[in-house]
Amino acid sequence: MAEFRMPLLGADMEAGTLVEWKVKPGDRVKRGDLVAVVDTDKGAIDIEIWEDGTIASVLVEPGTKVPIGTVLALVTSAGEAVTPPAEAEALATRPTPAQPAATPRRAAPAPPAGRARASPAARARARELGVDVSAVRGTGPDGAVTRADVDAAAAQARPTSMRQAIGAAMARSKREIPHYYLAADVDVSRALAWLAAENERRPLAQRLLPVVLLLRAVARATREVPEMNGLFVDGAFRPGEAVHLGVAISLRQGGLVAPALHDVDRKPLGELMRELGDLVTRARSGGLRSSELADATLTVTSLGDLGVQSVFGIIYPPQVALVGFGRIEERPWVVEGRVEVRPVVTATLAGDHRVSDGIRGAQFLAAVDRQLQAPEAP
């Protein structure tokens, strides 16, 4: 009899609220099936099971908040006799039900059509103040949200649970992880020229964005400097068995999530692009999976779309490094004694001194650079 427990979906998570069961006793399940929805500080997450078998009983009712590790259901393994639900229930300690669940929240609900409208100026103000514009009551024409509405909402606002969760994780990181920071400018003219030629022959729906080249370069650079990829757990570094990159995705109403893109070093660019598009869509509209929130072994953040030149990030514990990319922009670049205009991106690394030193970090950024000089590599 296997136990299906409330998973840990981030370093900052202590408990989750079971929102919905997608299975019932007697249902057969296989590894990777979505069996429940859990509400966390990151929104509602689809939870996968990692056992093949049959659901013997469910032990936690929807609406109950339980600590991580709490047994949520019992699963009879394939070939094992199915235990009657009553008996199975007696095998597990029932958690104490907490307060009724808050309204389930998807990770980043896209505002439906018809929701309060907002002018660009009001949205810019909301972004500046960290206000969820979709939650602001508008007093403008047809209920449109004005800049004054945003200011008024900000004055009354309390930190959202997501903001509190981000704050807690980052504070822990800064307390526990001795960060070091490095930056390197990378000439991406070869990469962009290759990308332009590649996109020329691709249908529009299959075009690649530069970010997938950046992600693959980071993932493959960890083959040369593996101490950037893994987790620091129980006082020791555990190298990642695969390269699952956490991709920082900003949400339209503020905040961010960094779900994992799996096996980035091994996948063709077209597949990575499809998966990244799917991940961004689900991060913003709901439907992230538990494995995507728990699996990242190294996080990448790219703020290039917002025009910043470089980003010095805070490592997401228990990971041991974070890579940042700024905007790809044309800059003067010296080539064989001559100044040329080249597209350049600044790559940065936040490293964990408990695991690596600056020299390894420098070698890692050099490896990222080398990877970007060979975009045609299969």
Partner: protein, 86 residues
């Protein structure tokens, strides 16, 4: 299609990407990415929907010509945009 009809289709596509936006507030000459707070992935989706709805495939070299609402509508008119059933 007339320029106004193209504009309506473009605005409806943008509303699907950034539904909280008030279409009337979009400044015609402003960069759509800044105006709507959309990133490069959203912009690619926008171009996919333009292709589906208006039958115009925008090559990468023409991206600068579709950066604002006004220039985008003018470009699509020039390229002979026609409404499709989708």
């Amino acid at each position: 299609m007339t320029r106004d009809e193209i504009r309506e289709v473009v605005l409806s596509i943008l509303a699907g990407i950034a539904p909280e936006i008030d279409a009337e507030e979009i400044r015609p000459g402003a960069d759509l990415r800044d105006e709507l707070d959309i990133d490069s992935m959203d912009f690619l989706r926008f171009l996919e929907r333009v292709e589906e709805r208006l039958g115009v495939t925008v090559p990468e070299k023409d991206y600068p010509r579709v950066r604002s609402l006004a220039s985008c509508v003018a470009y699509l008119e020039e390229r002979g945009a026609a409404e499709r059933a989708t």
